[in-house]
């Protein structure tokens, strides 16, 4: 019998090594896997590369991980926010590297990783600072920028319900990056509000099929 559900966030993140590339779900705090990140802080992994839409809000979740000095580099679309002080301080001190990526390009680079594509030509960002130095090509009269996949070693995401095969459904706009990060990482860990019996999730409404998920933890 395959049972991907684990007892604790600590158990779920135990093997994340120093230097890992970790995809972190959430848009602001909606979908932020706060308990998994707290477990990762306790676990102690350092020199992480984080891929997430924002660079943390307030003092919890990703902000706390950044504040603890565990993040070497972050790829995100929108670091600067009213409550991104943890990141702002380290960034201004030159102690964290930032790769700013347009949100839709972050999305399609994660999707390319999940779907096994080698690279994609996207129109987004052409002619801007964020495409400087990148290969470009005019296709069908329109300029495009060549972008490469972002593969994660791990993804930490938050879903609503899960089952022991790793199937997931989400809650409202907390879905955001979860499904595309789940498929872009070698090891996806989902925290859920409830682990339900196999067959309880409507097969027509499963958003992330279990094939993309290695571990499920109720938090």
């Amino acid at each position: 019998m395959i049972d991907k559900s684990l007892f604790s966030p600590a158990q779920a993140v135990a093997d994340i090594p120093d230097g890992a590339v970790v995809l972190v779900g959430g848009f602001g705090m909606a979908g932020m896997p706060t308990e998994l990140i707290e477990a990762l802080i306790d676990q102690g992994a350092r020199e992480l590369t984080i891929v997430s839409n924002n660079a943390g809000n307030g003092d919890t979740g990703l902000a706390a991980l950044i504040g603890a000095g565990r993040v070497r580099k972050i790829l995100c679309s929108f670091p600067r926010q009213a409550d991104s002080q943890r990141f702002d301080d380290l960034y201004r001190a030159g102690r964290i590297e930032l790769e700013l990526v347009p949100q839709g390009t972050l999305v399609c680079r994660l999707e390319a990783a999940g779907a096994g594509l080698g690279a994609i030509f996207t129109p987004t960002g052409h002619g801007t600072l964020l495409a400087e130095g990148k290969e470009t090509r005019v296709i069908d009269g329109r300029p495009h920028v060549l972008e490469y996949p972002i593969h994660g070693d791990y993804a930490l995401i938050k879903a609503h319900r899960g089952d022991r095969w790793g199937n997931l459904v989400y809650n409202k706009s907390a879905r955001n990056f979860g499904p595309i990060m789940a498929r872009a990482a070698a090891c996806t860990i989902a925290q859920v509000s409830e682990v339900v019996a196999l067959g309880e999730l409507n097969p027509e409404a499963v958003v992330t099929p279990g094939i993309f998920v290695k571990r499920v933890v109720r938090t």
Partner: protein, 217 residues
């Protein structure tokens, strides 16, 4: 500085933009000022508001006490979902944007150039922490990009320019500019003034604007 011209309030400007959005349009409203446009879409019509964090059919703010942290818009404000709305992930959301499925997006701006170049994400300040979000995707992906902004900066400088000095969001992407003084189309011939607020002459608007304007009302 507009010499008694009836400068539009933020609310009047939002109402003016809303008038140009036809029923049935799929619309993305940027963070800040553009968000106000939603308040002026006719309540008896079907307008489809998209939020890049995975909502279509976004409704107004919830009643106090009914906020849900999992139901927010791109500006991270609490919102609701209309009957007939749907939730989806970021992949689907940006397919909507980049794939040309959004009819109109309304964005704020630092600068708009005479050729339709848009600068709205970065002042270029060495000390600033840049943040771009979905603006570059909306700039290239929406069928029509409307800009909505005050005509002048707080310091009185024109935000409409011959060439953007701030880093670009998108090249030649803006179709129409709504300011508190005028409605201006970006055309192949240049910037064409479509409307002026009461009491403002084209000559006076030109004097306030750092790019050539064409009449055409």
């Amino acid at each position: 500085m507009s010499d008694g011209a009836a400068k539009l309030t933020r609310e009047q400007l939002a109402a003016r933009v809303a008038r140009d959005i036809p029923e049935g349009a799929y619309v993305n409203l940027g963070i800040g000022l553009p968000t106000l446009v939603a308040n002026y879409l006719p309540a008896d019509g079907d307008y489809f508001l998209h939020s890049e964090n995975g909502l279509l059919g976004m409704g107004p703010a919830p009643a106090p006490g009914l906020e849900d942290g999992d139901l927010i818009n791109a500006g991270k404000q609490h919102v609701t979902l209309l009957p007939g709305g749907s939730y989806f992930h970021h992949g689907d959301s940006f397919a909507m944007i980049r794939g040309g499925h959004i009819d109109i997006c309304v964005l704020g701006a630092f600068q708009v150039a005479a050729n339709g170049d848009l600068a709205n994400w970065h002042t270029g300040d060495a000390d600033a922490i840049p943040a771009v979000g979905g603006a570059m995707d909306l700039a290239v992906g929406a069928r029509q990009v409307f800009v909505m902004m005050e005509h002048l900066t707080r310091g009185g400088a024109s935000k409409i320019v011959e060439r953007c000095t701030y880093p670009l969001t998108g090249v030649g992407c803006v179709k129409r500019i709504y300011t508190d003084l005028a409605v201006i189309d970006v055309t192949d011939q240049g910037l064409r003034v479509r409307e002026l607020v009461a009491g403002l002459s084209l000559a006076r608007l030109q004097a306030l604007t750092a790019a050539p304007l064409l009449g055409g009302i």
